[in-house]
Symmetry: C2
Subunit: 375 residues, 2 copies
């Protein structure tokens, strides 16, 4: 009897051994490089999976919301970086949490620093968000005057401890090879160090540098002159990471098992019960096509290699439309299961809310703390 | 004190009065046309909102999963259509539910009919999924032989009652005007009636016709020769429906209230706490741009009209990137709230899992039955 026999509806399968191996590799790599490991827990969002990290010696974590910070603080995590621009409307609650754990907050303007300095009483660690080319949030890495203004605002509040510069080179996710990832990453590290030196000549510092992303942490042998790294996605990887060259298919540790509900060989398509509310609607573009995931067959204790030429071509709320080559399609029947490797594992975990391990154990998450994956 | 003062994080606001008005209009319209109203509950997924429908005289409902069917059966709904291709792996559970309520299932192949006929003991109503041009699932409307084969398979099982032909003209969602919606819809109704007549000449029938979509049910004055309509999205509408011409902005009954966390006037952008995990990643394309939602200001008891030229241009897991015209941007500060009108309200409801009404009441859903929207 294997795990697949008990599955009747879309189920997020978790290969614990593969995930733990991904974790061990990253722990060892960052330890060898002398870089503090502050993994992002927004990918797995699970207290149980957090324990794997604790067993691996991790003491510092990153989260992306106050709810997530509280959830993991409740599980005993004491040093938490909320790596999202500080939400002033939650200042009261942030202040409460700052009494319970060492809390790190992210700022990018003197106004925000002033607001926090006046509202918060407990000490917090402050990091300045630097934009190194992703153009999402942050002060431009080439704008030392603006960064200095934020630093000086922090200096006027003794309980706000300025720790350093924090960035997320999200543009590495759009790379197509390990070489491209590392070129983008190294350029960002050089720019950050230039900025750090300029601030030092103005008497500001010492400042740490904290970097973000899974592609660089996976693909680059040397992370350069940085103090901390916050990768999150590496614990599971996904099809988008496979596209960047940051991982192999064998490293992908989650897959969505979906019942086949219709076959359309005349269109080269199969329809599964597994749609946007199970995978999310994130996708990558390849050969001019939008792809929401890859497709694998159940294979004993795990799922197999991605079927060549097969992918998730469309999603409705519950329908997944799969493009399958004729030979693979011929072997699939209504009532079978297919395993979808998601475009973006972080979002699939969020929408599913829970996992079923390959050993049949249910793991819940922040999103639905009591929901049984197998129900 | 208004509802906005208590909001500290992304919150899905529900304008109950507008939603109930949308419901009343649809009830009256279908009653006047003599078409059975079988609303799709996958949009709101709430027992409480279901009560509004019951108060409006609705007795028949549509759902898109077994879990959803059980959820509403538990709230007393007795006539439920599971309008998703029958999932054979859940045959046992489907059979159990069929003992409790009048259950309608969707089929598209003789093999599925045979499987259900042999596995189920309780009577079920069967509908054949017909593809009228959306090319997602279903037997082609121009393939009477294939449809007849499914009908004959059903005839060999006395407890499988063949009710009719069911379709979803999803291609109306890509229309750009009420006239285009109705052209597409009328063509599909003519094709379905042609099919029904052909089957009748083969001695198959009588068969009902059940149609799907909110754009047609909203925009067309006459639904033609059909027996049942299953619109769902109309209860809230959304930005995509606005694009098709199926509704006005004033009909949109849900909006995601999001704290502003960063301003980037140099890019004409504002960043909010409200990302893919709050809105979903569904979008429409307008002027060559991907748009994930429209933007409105809090306005007393509700939100205002969409700000001209403003839209959600990008989403990360928690970040929402908003493009705002300079004049609107100048009036927005970090710590303010902005209201996002989602691209696709069904998916936003799914990812948020609960609502806060404009009167401050919390409404939960199937996705998270106990979660308090205001927590």
């Amino acid at each position: 009897m294997d795990i697949f026999d008990q599955i009747e509806k879309p189920t997020l399968l978790l290969d614990e051994a593969t995930a733990r191996a991904n974790l061990s590799r990253m722990v060892a790599k960052l330890r060898a490089l002398g870089v503090r490991f502050r993994p992002h827990f927004k990918t797995h969002q699970s207290i149980s999976i957090g324990e794997w990290f604790r067993q691996a010696g991790v003491e510092h974590i990153t989260v992306s919301s106050l709810d997530m910070a509280r959830y993991f603080a409740g599980a005993g995590w004491q040093d938490i970086s909320l790596a999202f621009p500080a939400n002033l409307r939650q200042a009261g609650a942030l202040g409460e949490l700052a009494r319970q754990v060492r809390l790190h907050l992210l700022v990018e303007s003197p106004e925000t620093v002033h607001f926090l300095g006046q509202r918060l009483e407990a000490p917090v660690e402050l990091w300045i968000k630097i934009d190194v080319g992703n153009h999402r949030t942050g002060v431009g890495v080439d704008d030392p005057a603006a960064v200095a203004a934020v630093c000086r605002a922090a200096a006027s509040f003794p309980h706000l401890h300025l720790r350093g510069l924090l960035t997320h080179a999200g543009q590495t996710y759009r790379a197509h090879s390990p070489e491209e990832i590392c070129r983008v990453y190294q350029a960002s590290v050089e720019a950050l160090n230039r900025l750090r030196r300029q601030l030092a000549t103005d008497g500001i510092g010492p400042l740490e540098i904290s970097v973000g992303d899974t592609p660089a942490c996976s693909a680059c042998t040397d992370l350069g002159a940085v103090d901390e790294a916050r990768p999150g996605n590496f614990i599971f990887y996904d099809a988008q990471q496979l596209q960047t060259g940051a991982c192999t298919a064998a490293d992908i540790a989650v897959a969505l098992a979906c019942p086949v509900v219709a076959r359309h060989p005349e269109r080269g398509e199969v329809v599964v019960y597994g749609g946007a509310i199970h995978l999310s609607k994130d996708y990558w573009v390849e050969d001019g096509e939008k792809k929401y995931g890859l497709v694998a067959l159940p294979a004993g204790k795990r799922w197999g290699e991605p079927l060549p030429g097969a992918y998730v071509s469309g999603l409705s709320q519950e329908h997944g439309i799969l493009r399958l080559p004729a030979e693979a399609l011929a072997r699939v029947a209504v009532g079978d299961l297919l395993c979808l490797l998601p475009a973006h594992s972080c979002l699939s975990v969020q929408v599913m809310g829970s996992y079923l391990t390959l050993d049949g154990l249910a793991i819940s998450t922040l999103n639905c703390p009591g929901r049984d994956a197998a129900a």
